[in-house]
Amino acid sequence: MVYDEQIKKLVVMRLSTMPPNVSFSIGNYGKFSREDLIKEVKKNSATGEAIVSMEIDLLRQMPHLSAQLSE
């Protein structure tokens, strides 16, 4: 799935607030620093799409977060 440029910009802005000394291991995609994650999103790679998908999932969860966490 190719995401809209506006959504990608939003994801890049969200990623840029991550601490610089933290990376993510994302299974067989590999290990990614904040800058790597942003690069993957910008170049529309499969990893970038997985990252965008994660951020959209999280955004959708936000309104329900307090209800979820009290389960």
Binding site: P19, F24, D57, Q61
Partner: protein, 217 residues
């Protein structure tokens, strides 16, 4: 005596974290009198894992590593189990701590006789603080995420059902997420917290196939 097969390759940072965080579970299972077959590092190959599943016939399988929708991979991404060979999991309660395996691999494993297959329907995210990658057990960013995923095996080892294991892991993820959100250190910016992101993502994709009441007790 109950038996458990553990697979834990160790060839990159992701598998190193899984390898290290599995150690306490192995000890806990041994303390419960469970006989462990611990296949680790470069021994996590298709031949070894399929062979040992066939010869030991464990009640539980705990497989750590990388995954795809249709496969679980061992050392250096060697395909260890796929939809066809998932019949090797027949009779087991299996927890695969790897990406994406739940729907296809898990579904086929259950069709082939696996009692319950617990896994992730999407990527399994591990946040890592760079200063701690050589000491995964001390990594404060990864700790809540790894504890929440370890909870699945803790419950199974204690004789609880597959569904109880999944629920307990989700609850612990919620508790850790709430601790972060309400901590004095929290900046108020959810984006800036990789632990919170990984907790929510992994919790959302953790589920089970098969008999939700399956347990080793």
């Amino acid at each position: 005596m109950k038996r458990m097969l553990v697979a834990r390759p160790n060839f990159d940072d992701g598998t190193h974290y899984l390898h290290e965080w599995s150690s306490a579970l192995i000890k806990e299972a041994q303390n419960k009198g469970i006989l462990i077959t611990d296949v680790k590092g470069d021994d996590v190959t298709e031949k070894n894992i399929i062979g040992k599943l066939g010869s030991i016939k464990p009640e539980m399988a705990f497989l750590n590593g990388h995954g795809t929708k249709s496969s679980f991979c061992g050392h250096q991404m060697e395909e260890v189990l796929n939809c066809e060979s998932s019949k090797a999991l027949k009779g087991t309660i299996t927890y695969v701590r790897a990406c994406d395996c739940l729907e296809e691999l898990g579904g086929d494993a259950v069709s082939n006789g696996c009692r319950a297959f617990i896994g992730y329907g999407k990527p399994f995210w591990i946040p890592m603080q760079n200063e701690y990658t050589a000491r995964p057990l001390q990594d404060p960013v990864a700790k809540p995420v790894m504890e929440a995923s370890n909870q699945v095996m803790k419950e199974l080892i204690n004789g609880n059902s597959a569904l109880q294991a999944v629920d307990a892991s989700r609850k612990l993820a919620n508790r850790h997420a709430a601790e972060i959100l309400f901590s004095k250190k929290f900046s108020g910016d959810i984006n800036a917290n990789p632990t919170l992101k990984a907790l929510l993502m992994n919790k959302g994709s953790l589920n089970l196939k098969g008999d939700s009441a399956a347990s080793i007790s």
